[in-house]
């Protein structure tokens, strides 16, 4: 199974929808909540070149926003 990391904030609608989608597909992932650990913001910016959430890291493939199609393609599901 591919390593998946989701950068999010607690009240971000698309972050929640994205995680619902991954749960539905049975995909395991790690969540990084930037509100709990502001230092992770640098990591997010470095990886994605921007500071919007959600950002999904699928083994190095960075997807900004809740883009179902890109996520499905990157996961190969």
């Amino acid at each position: 199974m591919k390593k998946v990391t989701v950068y999010s904030t607690p009240m971000c609608g698309y972050c929640i929808r994205l995680k619902q989608f991954l749960d539905q597909k049975g995909v395991e992932y790690e969540t990084i909540d930037i509100s709990k650990d502001p230092s992770k913001l640098q990591e997010l910016v470095k990886k994605s070149g921007q500071m919007g959430v959600p950002v999904t890291d699928i083994e190095g493939k960075i997807i900004v926003g809740f883009d179902k199609q890109e996520i499905v393609e990157a996961l190969g599901i």
């Binding site: 904030t9 009240m11 609608g13 929808r17 619902q20 502001p38 500071m51 959430v53 179902k68 199609q69």
Partner: protein, 302 residues
């Protein structure tokens, strides 16, 4: 000739979802074209006035909406943004940025989106300091300097939320005072740490890779304010940018009558994109149901 559907529903917020449920139960041959499922509900924090749910978050309600239409196997094409609608004989041709579809009737439920400032730098720094949702993106500005643009309730709420996160919070409004609920105004004043700048017209957003400052004009003087984040909270605009020949009101909403009919027979509209009084999730859903029933009647009369 491409397949001609009975109905095409554009949009999948509460209005489009309700229309879809009704169209599915009428067994119409239809599909849904939409940017995303949920619309504004996705970024609504708490919903406490949609009957049947004493409390539900916006994203969870969207999840329920999605489950509901999945139950009826409603075909939903996401990431489809409408460019234009044309009428040829008795058929509507809907052109999106990716495809062309045909149908005998149309329900427009395209909702509203955040209004943009329309100043240089806004697009360039979108998600690079420029944001439209304080609840969502606020936590990204821990210890930074932020400016909220707007003078209404949503702007004041955003400023109050950011106050506990950001190091410095500015609130800029073009008006000479804040408007909106008195209780929010009091909170802003008593908090003391929100720098309110009235009569300020934002003219540009600048920076290198990320936002570094904004410029604004006040009393014919150009000022620069160093900030890391800009939250634009100046209201909503209806998504009616597609070509259609539809009659709109002065703020761009589609004019509909009590039967959700527009000025073009066969095109119905519902929810926040219309001039229906009051914009609420439950009202949009009710309007969507009504539009689907009316579209069904229109189809069976022909």
């Amino acid at each position: 000739m491409a397949h001609v559907y009975d109905l095409i529903i554009v949009g999948a917020g509460p209005a489009g979802i309700a229309a879809s449920v009704y169209a599915a139960r009428k067994k119409l041959d239809f599909l849904v074209l939409t940017g995303n499922i949920g619309g504004q509900v996705t970024w609504t924090a708490d919903v406490e006035n949609y009957v049947g749910f004493q409390f539900i978050t916006g994203p969870d309600l969207v999840g329920k909406f999605e489950e509901h239409i999945q139950k009826y196997n409603v075909p939903v094409y996401e990431d489809e943004l409408l460019d234009r609608i044309e009428k040829k004989d008795d058929t509507f041709i809907l052109t999106t940025r990716k495809n062309v579809f045909s149908s005998r009737s149309v329900i427009l439920a395209t909702g509203k989106r955040s209004k943009e400032l329309n100043v240089p730098g806004e697009q360039q720094f979108r998600n690079k300091g420029v944001a439209y949702c304080a609840t969502c993106d606020g936590p990204l500005f821990y210890g930074k300097r932020v400016a909220v643009i707007g003078g209404g309730n949503s702007a004041m709420e955003a400023a109050l939320q950011l106050l506990s996160i950001a190091d410095k919070t500015y609130l800029l409004t073009v008006n000479n005072e804040l408007y909106g609920d008195a209780i929010l105004k009091e909170k802003i004043i008593s908090a003391g740490r929100v720098n309110v700048i009235t009569g300020a017209v934002v003219t540009s957003i600048t920076g290198d890779s990320f936002v570094g400052s904004i410029t604004y004009e006040k009393n014919t003087v150009q000022n620069s304010l160093p900030v890391d984040g800009v939250f634009v909270e100046i209201g909503l605009v209806p998504n009616t940018q597609y070509q259609s020949g539809l009659e709109l009101n002065e703020i761009g909403e589609i004019k509909v009558n009590l039967r959700n009919e527009t000025n073009i027979p066969g095109i119905f509209a519902c929810g926040d994109v219309t001039d229906v009084p009051e914009k609420q999730i439950i009202i949009a859903a009710g309007e969507g149901a009504k539009a689907a029933i009316m579209a069904g009647k229109y189809l069976s009369a022909r």
